[in-house]
Amino acid sequence: MKRFLQILIWTAVAALGAVALGTIAFHRGEAINATWFVLAAACFYLVAFRFYSAFIAAKLLALDNSRATPAERHDDGRDFVPTNKWVLFGHHFAAIAGPGPLVGPTLAAQFGYLPGTLWLIVGAAFAGCVQDFVILFCSIRRDGKSLGEMARDEVSKRGGFIAQLAVLAIMVILLGVIALVVVNALKSSPWATFTLAMTIPIALLLGLYLRFLRPGRVLEASIIGVALVLFVVVAGQWVADSPALAKVFTLSGVALALWIIAYGFAASALPVWLLLAPRDYLSAFIKAGAIFSLAAGILLVRPLVLMPPLTRFVDGTGPVFAGKIFPFCFITIACGAISGFHSLISSGTTPKMIQREGQARFIGYGAMLMESFVGVMAMVAACAMTPGVYFAINSPASIVGATPEAAATTISSWGYPLTAGTMTGLAHAVGEQTLLNRAGGAPSLAVGMAQIFSSTIGGERLLSIWYHFAIMFEALFILTVLDAGTRVGRFMIQELGGRLWKPFGRTNWMPAVILSSAIIVGLWGYFLYQGVVDPLGGINSLWPLFGISNQLLAAVALVVATTILLKMGRLKWIWVTLVPMAWLVIITMTASYQKIFSPNVRIGFLSQASALAAQIASGRIAAAIIADTQRNIFNLRLDAAVTAVLAAMILVLIVEALAQWYAILSRGKEPVLHETPFVATQWAEGD
């Protein structure tokens, strides 16, 4: 009877999910309610978790709860700490959830809601969750080794080195592009700039409190910090209303970029307890609060999704970024469906804290489903505003014009009605001078979130507060990724440099700290600067570059996972990792090729560089901007070279892995698996 009831319930969930997915896929004409998105996603996730993850756990990985995990064998109260599975789920989710699943879907909304939503849901279930889950399992079986170490042990030494270099390169591009998102959100906004600037002294205050007054009392310090941050969100309005103060905090894109570069350097070189860690605590609480509030807001308000399922920009002529759905929707969505960076977390802290192997399914697969849900919510928030407003906020001035009138004329001519008064009124309502040309996704997401929040609490009166709360939330945790990433990048550079000159590798030797911090900040700072001065808004070039690098890292992780599974003799079920790996290789290689060689000047780096060079040669560029144009040409060629190098590195790794696979399958070589030997758990069932 119980089994019959279970079958009935799961059939109902699957049927409801199919109806909801069918509704959002085939709906045409009038606006559709966001509830369908929530239902489709929730039902699909439930079915995927219940059946597909269980199948992977049982057949592919054969998880073994009788095997002691690294947390049990090495329990030291520091790195290896057996942790309750719900707490570890929260840890893991907080670590993997960054700005990517918010910004990516918002940008991909230019194709309409449908392609992005489908890839978010399906991609997560069959690719992203699989990667996180399998890499977590592999790392648990290897005492919590990192992806680079596993690549070296299981694929080849060269493979390990390539993976390490790929991580560093990806980190540099990632940090540059997310810093650009912050710059575009804060540009010419004294309220937002003041709020974010004030989080630095608040973090310093918390750092001193936690270091000298109440060591390690994170919860009480965070409560104080969150209260202060909420206060400065409100106080930002007073700053914006004061002409003298507003002038101080009204900064251009270049000025903001320089401040962020200086901040990154300080966060990397200063003691970690002073600035970086307390900011991270603040960010974690505000991130969790904002994500839950957004989910609650969408469920309560049930907004209408005004964006059509498919826009005219599926043909690749989109104003936010150029390129067709295939492959650009997939590399733009990135983290919400699959993120290579997650494999670093799944092979970092989490495997050292897990109590039982069986929990890897809930934590690895489950947390990624939740991240995908965040992506779906971001898509809903972006698509809940009128398409005209969405395009006005996210398109660069070189395409839609810099004034409300010009933007309204251009965007209306595309078939998305917009008046100049709508943009002026909206900017006024959210307390900004303008919302035009803010490519990057953060401001449009903030407008969407503010509209949802203000429909729940405060109405129009609180729209400006909610908007700046959303901007602060996005910018705060982007900067947290930025400072933590800069510091990790510094360690990687010190490790690489230490191989050439030993003292450089000493992480407490100040000259090495300063030099390596300057190198990593200089590298991502260069990408940030080129994005800020790019006439197409920077996002058009840099976000695809970030997406390609992130998805390439995911391909690396799946190559490593597939190699390990082949060595374990799981050939029958190898398609579980092989198919998403092949898909990622196809989309990233296609996107890389198009970004380098496409003759369309809005897509191809080289063709755009050649077009600009031809314009200089024919005298069509004014003398005053020739130097800027030449720098732009250099940057485009640099972007092409970076894309080519990244793609080449991954191809080398794949060739290395293919040689391994051939040797294993042809039985030319006995597979050597670098697992830690089996040790039976000493814990009773249920511990």
Binding site: G77, V167, L344, V488
Partner: protein, 65 residues
Amino acid sequence: MRASISQFAYAVRTFWQGLRQWCGDSAYETYLACAQRQPAKKPMSPTEFYVEQLNRKYSRPNRCC
């Protein structure tokens, strides 16, 4: 009624403990409990542990994009 209250109190206590563990508030207590099982080593002070823990945590990827 009493059973419901004690169940509620248990749920609140569990949530509170989970929250403290999640944010790192109880990390020193966890470390101390572990260190007491190895009496040969002198345990670190709360400040030493806090700084050492942060230095380790932020030397590897711990925040994603």
